[in-house]
Symmetry: C3
């Protein structure tokens, strides 16, 4: 009887441990999920007031309003884009996406991203930091969520990016599915 | 008696586990803390020898010595700033802060940061890597400590940045309170 | 006897726990290792077809084909370099290294790196994201592996970089020893 109780105690303890360590072992269920959209309006020399991003660096012979040849290789753009809960550019923003992207291929459109989401709404307060390669022509691309602050204190995860819409080379709307696998 | 001993053993085991997993569950006490200052002297065309940072990219019509209009939107600066233990610019540096910041708003002063602390003193050897958004006009801002090397091998945490002093648009002194929540 | 069994159960449980938490406590054995090479051919104004990287930003008075004085301080280069399994430039690439480096010292050659490895071979599918300071003149330098996707989902670790070969200021070959300490 005594032995049995002890075994039961040990059994539940093992279960508890297995549960608490589960994320490290096999199956990765997100501990938190968010779907957000952000809207990038690139400065083209004529849209100073509406533009939310600008090319600020480019290789020799390129200039800062027209994208460089060779798939814009080397262009760096800095952005401050509104974030919305749905895909409507005119929806009330819940935060800003701030940072940079740089085009980094001569053979196709690919970019490297370093940016943050600063969320400031009734639902979410805090920042989420992203880096990673974005092979733009692929339908869904995964980048890394490396950390966060506020509601996203120390969180880590994966963000899946989709180009939801674009208009010529001036407007891009991106859908971001954020899955956190390490929550605190 | 036997049963009691077993229960006690299990009890202490549970306590030990609770303690070792505490950081994941609720209360986040830093496992390591550092307070450091760094000093940024921006190149303005006339201070080549003293400058520790320079604007290297800017949108069209801006130039590389005077900050761009619209809250410097798009300016990227590269820096190599001395780190000190106190707020005195002339204190012996304990390392260098190296990396970049970019101004990324047309409506206020905000920046996006990507940089490292390289510490080389009797107290600390190693690097600490930071990224995150810095809403400069807010008194204290949190960015992410995403990893480190040497004494800070694989560490993660949060860095709280405060603008400790500034002189016109040439000198900035930043205080950084680093709290590591994941130590190795 | 009963007590003994219980003690044994508890003992093995403690051992199991000690093992599962080992990486946090003392000895850090990598859970995965990779050795890769990447090859950077810098655009110098005359090698447009072969170049895999280009200087896209520089401080005032520098230009975008000749590296800036003062150890290239402030130059930002964007790259899309082939990755190979051995040190032969002509080996079949297993992926691309994409991102940027910026020279950030006036007194020596040091750089700050932000880039990704995109691996696409029979052995490895996925991306690995790196940031960190690179004191180029030191034989081996450690930067941080902050996360990954695909085969490297959520991985973290340290990458040790060595300059394996270089030719004037146009070609650099880097050897990267990646050690993951957090695998999923």
């Amino acid at each position: 009887m005594v032995s049995r109780r002890c075994r039961i105690a040990v059994f539940f303890l093992v279960m508890f441990l297995a549960a608490s360590n589960a994320r490290k072992i096999k199956q990765y269920k997100p501990c938190k999920e968010l779907v957000l959209y952000f809207h990038d309006v690139i400065y083209n020399g004529n849209n100073k007031d509406n533009a939310t991003s600008a090319i600020v660096a480019a290789p020799q012979e390129a200039n800062l309003t027209i994208l460089a040849g060779h798939f814009h290789f080397g262009n760096i753009a800095v952005f401050d884009d509104p974030i919305t809960l749905d895909n409507n550019f005119y929806s009330k923003p819940v935060g800003r996406a701030q940072g940079m992207y740089m085009y980094d291929s001569k053979k196709t459109f690919t970019a490297w991203l370093g940016f943050s989401f600063l969320l400031n709404s009734t639902h979410h307060q805090g920042s989420i930091n992203f880096i990673g390669a974005d092979p733009i022509m692929v339908k869904t691309r995964d980048i890394s969520v490396v950390s966060g602050t506020g509601d996203f204190f120390m969180h880590r995860g994966i963000a899946t990016i989709m180009t939801d819409a674009y208009e010529s080379e001036v407007y891009f709307r991106l859908r971001v599915d954020i899955k956190f696998y390490e929550c605190w």
